[in-house]
């Protein structure tokens, strides 16, 4: 589903050049439940942004569903995001002046689904999250867990192939965090690839594959160290 080949990314801030990703080789198959871990500055957020087509990369290749994602227009990127990817954020990122139902329905608005139909579908997804009664509440009337469930419903409404979650439990207490992780597991069981960026070990251990980043390279997958240099030299031999 997702394949990175020797991915590099640098940020230029003033005269400084910050090399964030230093050659990422990674393959995530369809239907996997993966977590990406790493300390801040390890490049995990950048990797997630590139995966979500929110950012471009400098070198290497990125295939999404066997499609090469290179430099493309904003319009095309927006279209691909809408079609393939559902986002879940740490701070929920719900639109404050829209109620839960309207927030969930928003991605369908950009698919030009008519109002009646998209509200119907949105209600269905809210019901799945157990939030039917809260459909007409504004985000500030909901608890953190409820907000995150609204956000998950929103990420699912377009039937995406991938869910990208950036610290989805970062703003939640432990109980709620585990509930949210249960939801991600259920989503994964329907065949959707789920990628979760986190720095909490207990959250990461609820996924099937843990990818650890360190200083812009993959340090280990499921605890097995990966040394790209050793890997390359062994290939040569």
């Amino acid at each position: 589903m997702i394949r990175f080949e020797n991915l590099h990314k640098s940020y230029i801030t003033g005269s400084n050049k910050l090399h964030v990703l230093k050659g990422i080789d990674l393959h995530i198959k369809e239907g996997e439940l993966v977590s990406i871990m790493g300390s801040s500055g390890s490049g995990k957020s950048t990797l997630l942004n590139i995966t979500g087509i929110l950012d471009n990369y400098d070198e290497g290749r990125y295939y999404l569903d066997n499609m090469l994602i290179g430099n493309m227009s904003e319009k095309k990127a927006a279209m691909l995001r809408n079609k393939y990817i559902g986002f879940v954020f740490q701070s929920f990122n719900l639109i404050s002046f829209k109620n839960a139902l309207e927030n969930v329905a928003l991605p369908l608005y950009y698919q030009k689904v008519n109002r009646k139909k998209r509200n119907l579908i949105a209600m269905e997804y809210l019901d799945k999250m157990g939030l039917k009664e809260w459909a007409h509440h504004m985000p500030n009337e909901l608890s953190g867990g409820q907000k995150q469930r609204v956000a998950i419903a929103r990420s699912l409404i377009t039937n995406p192939k991938i869910i990208l979650a950036d610290e989805p439990t970062g703003a939640l207490d432990t109980t709620t965090s585990y509930e949210v992780m249960e939801i991600f597991k259920e989503i994964n069981q329907t065949g959707i690839t789920v990628i979760i960026v986190t720095h909490e070990d207990d959250i990461a251990h609820k996924t099937k594959k843990i990818i650890r980043l360190r200083d812009g390279i993959i340090e280990s997958i499921n605890g097995e160290p990966i040394n790209s240099e050793v890997f390359e030299t062994s290939l040569v031999q």
Binding site: L54, A78, M79, F87, L94, I95, Q111
Partner: protein, 410 residues
């Protein structure tokens, strides 16, 4: 455009920032209001002046005798020039392109006008038949002075509506005699004139009769003519020709500006119209300037709105909003504010103009001060266009917002 969601969102942001939106809208409303008031007043002034010109044929040339200010061929300065019947009779043979022509002769000294025991202060003009066309005189009953009156020296008179009302009251004046300096003239017609009340206090007599009766000999006080052409340059050339002809006849220096006065009414009319064009342009420049100030205000506010909504726009983009849909959102909001506010300004402006015209009525120099449909349409187009202009820069900024920057958690 007629997407409920978009409008709902615009309405939502406007509702959240009532004061800010009001202040912005106010500057646009004020701009349009001023434009309508200025244009309406300009129109009123122009209507008034055009009404003034309606009195006379606009392309006429009037000649008045004066006093020479330069000596010429041994003749001294300060010599009075007198027009005569010969000038009038010869001019059509010497000057080409005259359509209509009349002379005016005024009875010297005080003029008494009476009917039976009623007296009135009216003025008398002794003229040729073509005077009717040149002065735009409209006969209500009877007829105007004709060639036969002149040839047979008939003692007939055509009186203005106010003369009739003053002397004859309810009586029919046609066929009755009116006494002018104790000489009786038969009234053959009554007229009205668009030139106003004063014009209708006139009495017209055949010039030939009057010259004979009132000891005028062959004197003429004024010559008026209408050229065939309505082209300003051609009438100017004609006026020049007339002057040099008269200079030869009366032996004065052509460059002497005081010997005779040649008044080219078409030139005057064109000059006044040019002045109004200037006023019009001036008004539009000021009005548009005011509106531009409003646009800058709206644009500024939209900039702030975009900045405040950076995060929301980032979310929308992450969810699949294309840059053009974000631009549309911002521009539509800007158009909504400018159009609505501008419309209010326009309604207030038109309302005030209507109020003024119904209270002040129409004086001679200020008539129907209203903004026309054309102006209203132009203002509407201006509003929508200015809304778009005000929205473009903020919208482009919004479209450039990068979701990862917008979504970064502080």
């Amino acid at each position: 455009m007629f997407d409920i969601d978009k409008w709902q969102e615009i309405f939502n942001t406007i509702k959240k920032n009532k004061l800010r939106t009001f202040l912005t809208g106010f500057s646009v409303a004020w701009g349009i209001f001023m434009l309508i008031i200025l244009l309406g007043s300009g129109n009123g002034l122009q209507n008034g002046v055009e009404y003034q010109f309606r009195d006379d044929a606009t392309n006429s040339i009037w000649l008045y005798p004066g006093t020479t200010s330069k000596s010429y061929k041994g003749l001294q300065a300060n010599r009075r020039i007198r027009f005569t019947n010969e000038d009038f009779d010869n001019m059509p043979h010497k000057i080409a392109g005259i359509e209509e022509m009349t002379a005016r002769f005024y009875i010297p000294g005080k003029v008494d006008v009476s009917y039976k025991n009623d007296y009135g202060a009216f003025s008398v003009r002794c003229v040729h038949p073509a005077h009717q066309i040149i002065e735009n005189t409209h006969i209500i009953t009877g007829r105007y002075i004709n060639e036969k009156d002149l040839k047979e020296f008939r003692k007939v008179a055509v009186i203005g509506k106010n003369v009739k009302e003053g002397l004859y009251k309810e009586e029919n004046p046609i066929g009755k005699y009116i006494r002018i300096n104790n000489i009786e003239f038969k009234v053959v017609g009554v007229f009205t004139d668009t030139g106003g009340e004063e014009e209708m206090r006139n009495i017209y007599l055949p010039i030939s009769t009057a010259q004979k009766i009132f000891n005028g000999q062959n004197r003429v006080n004024q010559i008026m003519l209408i050229p065939k052409t309505e082209n300003v340059e051609e009438t100017k050339a004609m006026a020049k020709k007339i002057k040099s002809y008269m200079a030869k006849q009366h032996r004065f220096d052509v460059t002497d500006d005081n010997a005779i006065y040649v008044q080219n009414n078409l030139e005057r009319y064109e000059n006044v119209m040019m002045m109004f064009l200037g006023i019009d342009i001036f008004i539009w420049v000021i009005g548009i300037g005011t509106i531009i100030a409003g646009i800058v205000g709206v644009s500024n506010i939209m900039m702030i709105v975009v900045k405040e909504r950076t995060k929301e726009i980032g979310i929308r983009k992450a969810l699949g909003a294309s840059p053009s849909s974000i631009m549309g959102l911002v521009i539509l909001e800007s158009v909504a504010i400018t159009s609505f506010a501008g419309y209010i300004g326009m309604v207030l402006g038109v309302g005030l103009m209507e109020l003024i015209s119904s209270f002040a009525g129409s004086s001679d120099f200020f008539r129907n001060p209203q903004a026309s449909i054309g102006i209203a349409i132009a203002a509407t187009v201006l509003l929508v266009v200015s809304g778009i202009i005000a929205g473009v820069f903020p919208a482009r900024r919004a479209a450039k917002i990068r979701p990862i920057v917008a979504l970064r958690d502080e």
